[in-house]
């Protein structure tokens, strides 16, 4: 009796489990409910369709997917930038294609790429989830090369337009040239690629040396380099070393300007080692130290820089130093450091300051480079959608590429140099999007890959003021001693030495067009504002 009861119970249990599994599989895998819904409930900027509170039909959403490390500052930045652009577009009435109104939707997916113990499959899973489950139409994001190079392939295979907003690796856009059919969907919108970054540092260094000699009678003769031991930093150091005799002959008439100390350290170096590195640099008597650091060791670099009271001026690339929390992170030890950044609150274009203020107003934090990149990417894609009146990837791609042949980003400039205000209120805060495809306008500073003439779909250095990086110096702020502040050290043409001459001669790349916007405040030399370490 008891046994048969048990048996009946067991049969019921098995039946329930079986039905449950079957229903679950149906519900989550097969039924329509398994389709992901881009739900919209409020007009909050953090909502899926920012700025619109009514329910938008799924097929009326232009679906943008942000792939980045959402637990890290770059991911937050990319998401916020994209949201801000979507919010602006949606609140101004959305996008009209044919007679239909479309709205921009933003979804994010965490690639966990900031984790030092990187797991490539997480990024790939994020990309597949974004494309195949959430059905995003346009992708943007990514900042770490190792992770990005894996999941970019997924996006390319799915034939989606992908705007890279954070990686400086030039290879990504060289691939567009090497294998156009596969990689034509890749664009980089931020930052300048590593090749151009080298050029920017060299220009800044030369400008500083000339300026100090002409205006302050200060002779800078000894240069030190501290870099992560990576392929791109090695190439950059090669450029700097190669240019030194030329600069020296030009500025001083002899070869007194020299690289006196160069330290290439492994990325796994501990902080104690930095006392050694800095002791060596101090002993070498360097006037200027050039960091070329993209990883977390930038924190050690700056921390020990302050602790050891270095007399030299630090001027170069320290990615950690681009964030406005860097003063706090280093406890003020980064004082006097000059770091390259892509973007600050400065009237680089007419849209820069409004963008900055709108961003800070919404997210109460300053935008970092991934934020401006994401903002520009959404704007660029939407502009192309409007121009082509189509959502199809290939039409959008054609529109994006068409802009290349006009010489400079058509969204807001005309050959007369007067900004064009687009109908839908699009604006580009950094305006570094100019997707060149032809070799004539391209300068490849990278001697190792000088044979590759065509870099497609990349941000291009050099058109004043848009294609230049910004340098900022960390200085003590007596009004807010715990925070410190950035002071802008923008870069302009070097007196008596044209860009053309400076880089063109060395790399033998021939002449290129003169800067276009020299009448803007941006074009002035402000290197005189540099504060030198008082030690």
């Amino acid at each position: 009796m008891k046994k048969s009861m048990q048996r009946i119970l067991a049969i019921v249990l098995v039946a329930v489990i079986g039905v449950g599994i079957g229903a679950g599989a149906y519900f989550f895998l097969i039924s329509e409910a398994a389709e992901y819904k881009w739900d919209n409930t409020t007009d909050d900027i953090m909502d899926t369709v920012p700025g619109i509170d009514e329910e938008v039909p799924q097929n009326r959403i232009i679906k943008f997917g942000v792939l980045d490390d959402m637990g890290y500052i770059t991911g937050k930045g990319a998401e916020n930038g994209a949201r801000l652009a979507a919010y602006e577009i949606n609140t101004r009435g959305g996008v009209n294609i044919g007679n239909e109104t479309y709205y921009v939707g933003i979804e994010t997916e965490d690639t966990e790429e900031a984790n030092p113990a990187l797991d490539l499959s997480r990024g790939v899973a994020a990309a597949e989830r974004m494309i195949y489950y959430k059905k995003a139409q346009f992708i943007l994001g990514g900042f770490r090369t190792e992770a990005l190079q894996a999941y970019r392939e997924i996006v390319m295979d799915a034939k989606k337009i992908f705007f890279i907003t954070g990686s400086a690796t030039a290879k990504f856009c060289q691939d567009v040239y090497n294998d156009y059919n596969k990689y034509k969907y890749t664009f980089r919108i931020q930052p300048l690629n590593e090749v151009f970054l080298a050029g920017e540092v060299i220009r800044m260094l030369a400008a500083t040396i000339v300026d100090q000699k002409e205006n302050h009678d200060k002779n800078i003769t000894k240069i030190a380099i501290m870099r992560e031991d990576l392929a791109w930093t090695a190439r950059m150091s090669g450029s700097i070393n190669g240019l030194m005799p030329f600069f020296s002959a030009f500025i001083y008439g002899d070869n007194r300007l020299q690289v006196v100390e160069e330290i290439a350290y492994p990325q796994t170096a501990g902080p104690v080692n930095f006392y050694g590195y800095w002791a060596d640099i101090k002993a070498s008597g360097a006037d200027v130290t050039i960091p070329i650091i993209s990883g977390p060791t930038g924190l050690y670099y700056s921390d020990v820089y302050g602790d050891t009271n270095q007399p030299s001026l630090s001027l170069g690339i320290n990615v950690m130093g681009q964030q406005n929390i860097f003063w706090e992170q280093t406890g003020g030890n980064c004082e006097y450091e000059i770091a390259m950044t892509s973007f600050i609150r400065h009237a680089k274009t007419p849209f820069t300051i409004p963008f900055w203020d709108h961003y800070v107003g919404n997210f109460s934090t300053a935008p970092i480079y991934t934020a401006t990149g994401a903002y520009d990417a959404v704007q660029a894609v939407v502009t192309s959608i409007i121009d082509g009146q189509s959502l199809a990837t290939d039409d959008v791609l054609a529109e994006l590429e068409k802009s290349e042949w006009q010489g400079i980003d058509p969204n807001w400039t005309t050959p007369t140099g007067i900004p064009r205000m687009p109908k839908y209120g699009m604006g580009s805060p950094t305006a570094t999007i100019s997707f060149w495809t032809d070799g004539t306008y391209h300068r490849d500073v990278d001697s190792a890959t000088a044979g590759i003439q065509h870099t497609r779909h990349d941000v291009v250095e050099g058109s004043e003021p848009l294609g230049h990086a910004v340098f900022v110096q960390w200085v003590y702020d007596s009004a807010n001693p715990t925070l410190g502040k950035w002071e802008c050290v923008p870069l302009g043409p070097i007196p008596g030495i044209s860009d053309d001459y400076m880089l063109g001669t060395y790399f033998g790349l021939g002449s290129w067009e003169p800067p276009m916007y020299t009448d803007q405040p941006w074009g002035q030399v402000i290197t005189a504002n540099i504060t030198w370490p008082v030690r």
């Binding site: 637990g71 984790n115 030092p116 113990a117 031991d229 330290i263 290439a264 350290y265 492994p266 796994t268 170096a269 501990g270 902080p271 104690v272 080692n273 006392y275 050694g276 590195y277 800095w278 002791a279 101090k282 002993a283 977390p296 924190l299 050690y300 921390d303 602790d307 050891t308 009271n309 929390i325 706090e328 992170q329 280093t330 406890g331 030890n333």
Partner: protein, 295 residues
């Protein structure tokens, strides 16, 4: 040349001293209970973050004491709640559970930062500042005052621990258990209790290393694993379970690394310690001062 030698000596000693503190604790637990504690780096991590979180509000002394107490308690609790029950089942599940603890603590630290509103990666102000500067020069080598402090404290603590183990009653029990656990248990020593204290001492040592080192060592959630692998390297070299071995191993490895940095090439300085270990494993697997394990 003098500067170079000084650099190797001073910076090597400082790094060696910190790894000594960490590895002695690690070695102690292994030598006593045969427990391979993968959470050791996490103990360092949690103590460092406690200091980082409290420093602004509670002041230096209170936060140091609090950090040390908390990390010691965490050591004890993780032994009682997780390691002890599994120890009897299998060695492997102990390894796995300590891995899980380490993973958990790393997540907790990240969560704590985002809830309390701290940056996950940061630096702390130096402990000692004299006349507005935090460092002095000696034969061209720049040395922060903190490093002198680190050297003094770490040697003091390690001497005290050695003294404690050789003289005190608990220390005698620890030594007895490390030699023959069964015999010690038969003689009325509560092995579980002693092991709990050992894990607590080891966590305390990791905590001390954290509170003296973190002010001059930027802090990040992933550092637990770096600390762990480095202490592995030290104990392999010195001999697992041998306290003097750990001391020796810590200094040899850090001198080797700094010697490479100064005299050969900074780019391979992190590779050299690893090669030292591999050579050591091939030539003398039990480590410099380790006992040969027959069985």
């Amino acid at each position: 040349m003098l500067t170079d030698i000084m650099q190797v000596l001073v910076l090597g000693s400082v790094e060696g001293a910190v790894y000594m503190l960490i590895a002695v604790g690690y070695s102690l637990v292994y030598g006593t209970g045969g427990i391979m504690n993968l959470a050791h780096g996490a103990f360092y991590l949690i103590a460092g973050y406690m200091l980082y979180w409290y420093l602004g509000t509670l002041g230096l002394f209170t936060s140091v004491v609090l950090a040390l107490i908390i990390v010691t308690l965490i050591g004890g609790i993780s032994y009682l709640a997780l390691i002890k029950p599994l120890e009897k089942k299998s060695q492997l599940s102990v390894v796995m559970v300590t891995f899980a603890i380490a993973f958990f603590i790393e997540q907790i630290v990240k969560l704590g930062c985002s809830i309390l509103g701290f940056e996950k990666e940061s630096t702390l102000p130096n402990l000692i500042e004299i006349k507005g500067t935090v460092s002095f020069e000696l034969f061209g080598t720049i040395i922060p005052y903190d490093y002198v402090f680190i050297l003094i404290i770490s040697f003091l603590i390690v001497s005290l621990i050695t003294l404690f183990i050789s003289k005190s009653k608990l220390g005698t029990s620890i030594r007895a258990i490390s030699q023959d656990r069964e015999a010690a248990t038969l003689m009325g020593i509560n092995a579980d209790r002693v092991l709990m204290f050992t894990v607590m001492i080891s966590a305390f040592l990791a905590g001390v290393a954290a509170v003296i080192y973190v002010p001059s060592y930027p802090i990040a959630p992933w550092q637990g694993w770096v600390i762990l692998t480095n202490s592995f390297a030290v104990v392999i070299l010195g001999g697992m379970g041998s306290l003097p071995g750990s001391v020796l191993g810590a200094f040899i490895l850090s001198y080797a690394s700094h010697f490479t940095r100064v005299f050969i090439d900074p780019a391979i300085s992190t590779l050299v310690p690893m090669f030292v270990i591999v050579v050591m494993l091939a030539l003398r697997p039990q480590g410099i001062l380790g006992k040969k394990e027959i069985d």
